[in-house]
């Protein structure tokens, strides 16, 4: 998990080198933090931090990365050793930022960027304009409709799945802005979709309520956590992989609870068994 390389240090301008070390460490760890926060794999974070440090001439360093934290030190044995710890909460996936940091690290490795230029680029990457919420809501609607159709729904079902998808993503965006816990959002979100679909069925429309529900809840599915968890475990980062996989299982259970609660309430209201 840690990389270690040493090189004999000259005694001239030691102080300047040391201060520079901290700036480099800060840059490298900030880049790592950005990757981790946006859903990067552990080995990618570790490699990026290491490469950036080496590109700027720091060869005596240790980096340790887990899913929700980065620990790094430089020149541990020296008097002015630098160390940095970052707590990184699990966040939303943003592949654009991961790709951006990846590109930045590639350019740093080619030696074409000075430290201040690199910082500037990092800031640009961090504050890249996010997609509009309306765009995300629309995308969610489209994928709900698409999945409903792929899983055997009729185009008529897809229309309702589209509407429920829009509703769900709007709910998720609003909830995330108010810092509602992710698990609560999953339970309420899947309950919302199920309730909507069952309401349509209860109104007597001839819809496949199950296909509509599945199309609607697919956006909540922990597919990313599953994939990243596997990749982490496969790279030997069992702890981080375990955290992700546990996240995936818990999310799955939350979705099941939300769906189940809605179906149960529908039954208690006298809806009876659903056609599958």
């Amino acid at each position: 998990m840690s990389e270690h390389k040493t090189r004999p240090q000259g005694h001239t301008s030691m102080r300047k080198v040391q201060r520079n070390n901290k700036v480099i460490l800060n840059l490298a760890v900030s880049m790592g933090e950005e990757l981790l926060k946006n859903g990067g794999e552990i080995y990618r974070v570790q490699e990026t931090v290491g490469r950036v440090m080496e590109a700027y001439g720091v060869e005596d360093y240790h980096v340790f990365v887990v899913t929700n934290g980065i620990f790094a030190t430089v020149h541990e044995q020296d008097e002015e050793a630098g160390s940095m710890v970052r707590d990184v909460p699990l966040g939303d996936i943003n592949l654009e930022k991961i790709a951006g940091i990846n590109q930045l690290s590639r350019e740093i490795c080619q030696g074409s960027l000075s430290l201040s230029q690199a910082y500037e680029r990092l800031e640009q990457c961090r504050h890249a304009a996010p997609l509009r919420d309306a765009f995300l809501v629309l995308a969610c609607g489209i994928e709900s409709a698409g999945f409903c159709f792929l899983l055997g729904g009729t185009p008529f079902d897809s229309i309702f799945s589209f509407l429920l998808g829009l509703l769900l993503q709007a709910f998720l965006v609003a909830g995330t802005k108010r810092n509602v816990s992710k698990f609560l959002l999953n339970i309420l979100g899947s309950a919302l979709v199920t309730a909507g679909s069952l309401a349509l069925y209860g109104m007597g429309l001839s819809v496949h309520s199950d296909r509509i529900i599945i199309g609607g809840i697919i956006v909540l599915m922990p597919g990313v956590a599953l994939v990243t968890g596997i990749r982490d475990s496969f790279n030997g980062d069992y702890l981080s992989g375990g955290i992700r996989l546990m996240d995936a299982v818990l999310t799955g259970i939350c979705i099941a609870v939300g769906v189940g609660a809605s179906v149960k309430i529908f039954q208690l209201l006298g809806g009876g068994a659903l056609p599958i």
């Binding site: 859903g39 990067g40 794999e41 990618r44 996936i93 943003n94 592949l95 654009e96 930022k97 991961i98 790709a99 951006g100 990846n102 590109q103 590639r106 996010p130 997609l131 765009f135 995300l136 995308a139 969610c140 489209i142 994928e143 698409g146 999945f147 159709f149 792929l150 899983l151 199950d210 529900i213 599945i214 809840i217 697919i218 956006v219 599915m221 597919g223 990313v224 599953l226 994939v227 990243t228 596997i230 990749r231 496969f234 799955g252 979705i255 099941a256 609870v257 769906v259 189940g260 179906v263 149960k264 039954q267 068994a273 659903l274 599958i276």
Partner: protein
């Protein structure tokens, strides 16, 4: 069949948007997703079960994602995440929960185990895809480097 392909491509595209994939890669993600779904459907048509079909599909997806990642100089995750979603057992989770609530426990267990099998097959597909050495893909990456260099010159 063509309609299915189109819908799979569009759904994957929507997922690419939700995951903030860089805009210039939308198309590649979508094509990869469509390809995965085609392999899945084709394999189902050949008489394989859902888990085995998921395995073939994820294997294809992962390999194509790695090739694309070398060619486009992007992390392979970019192409993999959105594409994999067409195969995630969403219906399994739903039916398991539904049968549990309906107190049909034998059906619930059967669905639950099937869901785990599909998730496991997806896992295996990704692992096999990632097991091939990176150097094979790096060679592809170098091809585009040369092209770019000659294009500039």
């Amino acid at each position: 069949m063509i309609v299915q392909l189109l819908v799979a491509v569009i759904s994957t595209l929507a997922f690419a948007v939700l995951f903030h994939v860089p805009r210039q890669e939308y198309l590649y993600c979508a094509v990869n997703g469509g390809l995965g779904w085609m392999v899945y459907k084709f394999s189902l048509g050949c008489g394989f079960g859902v888990p085995v079909s998921s395995l073939w599909a994820t294997l294809t997806l992962t390999l194509v994602a790695r090739v694309l990642s070398a060619l486009r100089k992007m992390p392979s995750t970019v192409f993999l995440l959105a594409g994999i979603f067409t195969l995630v057992p969403g219906s399994g989770v739903y039916y398991t929960a539904y049968y549990l609530i309906m107190n049909e426990l034998s059906k619930c267990t059967a669905k639950g185990i099937e869901t785990f099998k599909i998730a496991g097959a997806i896992v295996l597909g990704i692992i096999f895809g990632l097991a091939l050495p990176q150097s094979w893909f790096n060679r592809l990456g170098r091809l585009t480097d040369k092209k770019e260099a000659s294009g500039k010159a």
